[in-house]
């Protein structure tokens, strides 16, 4: 084993990932803490507040998993990762799971040897234009100058969209969101394009947000979700079903307000199975019977987490859209707890 260390970093990466992956749940329990990878800061999704406590939509997933696995939503060590360090941090075992607005793609799932455990936010690339431009659809943007982050999938999506609609554009390459914000406000480009959630968050910081509109077209699929290492299915199941528990709780009307009352037992057997008063779901996962109750109690159900961090009452003001329950025309559809 020792010699292989020097043969090739990638081989070792695979081996180490495989070796470290055996029994992540046991590791987490033994450690008493969940190591959860998050971003170094993204408005609404993950950022430490003035007291240094992490808050946000992705952070809530980490807290729910910690609550399910350990019974304590504060037993999380948040490991900030950048776009460049996130995958190696997960592969090397430095973190147990990554909840960092990461798009679920084929190559990340298959080639990088990770396992996406679900989708906690359906995002997509959108467009923002000043209202005074009088544009109501992206198809009217012929000849526009577009601010676009270089080296991202958004750049390729943009080229595809304009080509398939047979219209032309002039790209203004920029490096970061902060730069884009300044360029767009200074009028260096007519349109700013990036993920719709990012556009909404950016617009919220403007002096006069109402002067800018998001166009209705969404030109790409960006399913964001938590991920774990390949090969440790027990741990993957814990993360997957914790996320499903949050979604199911919203569907069944279990909230952080009524959870105490409901966990005494209800007439709905699925709620009872979710909250552990009936059946042995927790035991099957290798967790305590009240894991689902803890996960929901940590920050509320999916809808509450959404409303608190990125929903319409926050400065970011995202509508549920695709992220509504399937019963309300969205894509959130958790398999049944049975």
């Amino acid at each position: 084993m020792k010699n292989t260390v020097f043969l090739g970093a990638l081989t070792v990466a695979g081996l180490a990932a495989g070796a470290a992956a055996a029994g992540t749940l046991d590791d987490v329990k033994a450690r008493g803490k969940l190591n959860c990878g998050v971003t170094t800061g993204l408005v609404g999704f993950a950022a430490p507040n003035a007291n240094g406590e992490w808050e946000g939509f992705d952070v809530a997933v980490c807290r729910a998993v910690a609550a399910a696995a350990l019974g304590d939503s504060t037993a999380v060590e948040f490991v900030p990762t950048t776009g460049k360090t996130r995958f190696t941090a997960l592969a090397s075992g430095e973190i147990d799971m990554l909840a960092r607005n990461t798009t679920w793609t084929f190559s990340r799932d298959v080639d990088l040897k990770f396992e996406f455990t679900g989708v906690n936010y359906y995002d997509g690339q959108g467009f923002m234009v000043p209202k005074e431009l009088g544009v109501s659809s992206a198809k009217e943007l012929d000849g526009a100058t577009v601010c676009i982050q270089t080296g991202t999938t958004t750049e390729l999506n943009l080229a595809d969209f304009f080509r398939s609609n047979n219209i032309s554009y002039e790209p203004v390459p920029i490096e970061t969101n902060a730069e884009a914000q300044q360029q767009y406000l200074a009028g260096a480009c007519d349109v700013y394009t990036t993920d719709a959630s990012g556009l909404a968050a950016t617009r919220a910081t403007f002096d006069a947000p109402a002067d800018h509109v998001l166009l209705p077209e969404i030109i790409s699929k960006e399913p964001l979700g938590p991920l774990v290492r390949h090969g440790d299915h027990e741990w993957g199941d814990v993360v997957r079903w914790t996320l499903n528990a949050l979604i199911t709780a919203e569907e069944l009307g279990v909230t952080s307000a009524n959870i105490a009352e409901m966990s005494a037992g209800t007439s709905n057997p699925e709620i009872n199975r979710l909250l552990g008063t009936e059946g042995t779901l927790g035991e099957m996962l290798g967790l305590s019977a009240d894991w689902g109750k803890n996960a929901v109690a940590a920050g509320g159900n999916y809808g509450e987490v959404f409303a608190k961090n990125i929903g319409e009452d926050t400065p970011i003001g995202l509508a549920r859209g695709l992220n509504a329950q399937w019963t309300e025309g969205g894509l959130l559809y958790s398999p049944p707890f049975r």
């Binding site: 170094t40 800061g41 408005v43 240094g52 900030p80 968050a201 910081t205």
Partner: protein, 432 residues
């Protein structure tokens, strides 16, 4: 002489004429302005253009600075208070002051510890920087790194004590055997230090750091400008001696040592610092098992130190090359051996020549410490780019935050450069 008697001159001054003030156009501000600002037509045009520029810069920035708001709790509130007027939103600095200086995870009740470490740093640096001070002060400088480590990281006091004892043991062994043969002294010292650390490691009781006098703070919790200062001070003070060793090694007549130094210097100079940092943070975690990694702070310190040591080595090599061969030959003819010749004759002159270059590297290194933000360490720039700009309250505040960061760095870097100029004047011996 005869004219006096014949009285052929109409007037002879009997006393001195009282002094009259010089003409108005030859004095004071007027003269200065005429000579310096309006001496000819091109100069006058330049002056007017410059005045217009200064006016436009000031008229744009001054209202922004003076109207600044310090007391609101979010950018939206700032805008409300300003109500369309121009003004900065400095509230972000006052609200996140501690986060900017110490990072967001350093325990609030322990802020006095890095503060004290900073004050002690000034005391420890004084005898190194100003050699007119009494030499006894250097004793404190030697102990300072261990005190600072204990203050900032906390935990059991036994750790820095044993680390210090290891160095003491190494020094004693080196004193004892180094006289006979340098190699025996060097490797003996190495073994002595390792033995002390190994034995000392067993002596530290399990869980000693949990109930220590100062609560233990992991490296991941360090941040803010404190992290920049720590990285800058540690790396500069480690890389200067390492750079000297590398520069001398590169001139060595022993091929093995020479080629090791040449290859090391050329390799490190050929690689961007940021790739070394990625290696430190990303690649190394593949090579170590997950629970036995070297501390991230230490990994970064090693990488930055190696990087700047290579540059300093080249600067010092320039200083060595500038010395005439006669200096080396003079040292040899006095019968000095190699260490003595270097210590007494060659290095004092070479280092004096190299001061501007070394300071240049040091200033660059200090600013390069902000690069650690790309490997998700929250130094000052990392704090600004990550947590602060990503909070819903402060997203969109750029000028105030980055201007503040620039201001802090300017103070330190300007201080370093002023010191180096003083040092050059102090060491000037009139060879030029």
């Amino acid at each position: 002489m005869s004219d006096k008697t014949t009285n052929s001159i109409a007037f002879v001054a009997e006393g001195t004429i009282p002094e009259s003030p010089p003409p108005a156009r030859e004095t004071g501000v007027y003269k200065w302005a005429r000579e310096n600002l309006f001496s000819n037509i091109p100069n006058s045009i330049l002056t007017l253009v410059a005045l217009a520029l200064i006016y436009s810069v000031l008229s744009n920035t001054l209202p922004w600075l003076l109207n600044g708001i310090w007391t609101t709790s979010s950018l939206a509130e700032c805008r409300e208070v300003l109500d369309g007027k121009v003004g900065a939103c400095f509230s972000v600095l006052s609200e996140r002051w501690n986060q900017l200086l110490y990072g967001f995870k350093y325990p609030t009740e322990a802020y006095w510890r890095p503060n004290l470490a900073l004050v002690l740093l000034l005391i420890a640096l004084a005898p190194v920087l100003f050699f007119d001070l009494p030499r006894q002060l250097l004793g404190f400088t030697v102990v300072y790194p261990f005190i600072a480590f204990w203050l900032i990281w906390g935990g059991s006091i036994l750790v820095p004590v044993i680390a210090f004892l290891g160095f003491v043991a190494a020094a004693v062994v080196f004193q004892r055997f180094g006289k006979g043969s340098f190699a025996a002294g060097f490797f003996g010292a190495l073994v002595a230090a390792l033995v002390v650390w190994k034995v000392g490691g067993f002596l530290i009781p399990e869980g000693a750091s949990e109930n220590a006098m100062l609560s233990s703070v992991p490296s991941r919790d360090l941040g803010g400008f404190m992290l920049n200062m720590m990285l800058g001070v540690t790396c500069v003070s480690l890389s200067v001696p390492l750079g000297i060793a590398l520069a001398l090694g590169r001139q060595s007549s022993m091929p093995l040592i020479k080629w090791i130094c040449v290859i090391f210097i050329e390799f490190v100079r050929g690689v961007p610092l940021i790739t070394l940092l990625f290696v430190a943070s990303v690649m190394l975690s593949y090579f170590f098992p997950p629970d036995a990694t070297v501390d991230l702070f230490l990994r970064v310190v090693i990488m930055i130190t190696l990087f700047s040591a290579a540059y300093i080595a080249e600067v010092i090599r320039g200083g060595l090359a500038a010395l005439p061969t006669g200096q080396y030959e003079a040292a040899d003819s006095l019968g000095l051996d190699y260490p003595q010749a270097m210590r007494l004759i060659i290095l004092p002159q070479a280092l004096k020549i190299s001061i501007p270059g070394i300071v240049n590297v040091a200033v660059g290194l200090f600013k390069d410490t902000t690069l650690v933000s790309v490997i998700s360490m929250f130094d000052l720039v990392g704090m600004i780019r990550g947590p602060i700009l990503a909070s819903t309250e402060w997203n969109g505040v750029y000028w105030e935050l980055l201007g503040f960061a620039a201001f802090l760095f300017f103070i330190v870097c300007y201080g370093i450069s002023q010191y180096s100029q003083w040092l050059e004047r102090r060491l000037a011996t009139g060879h030029r």
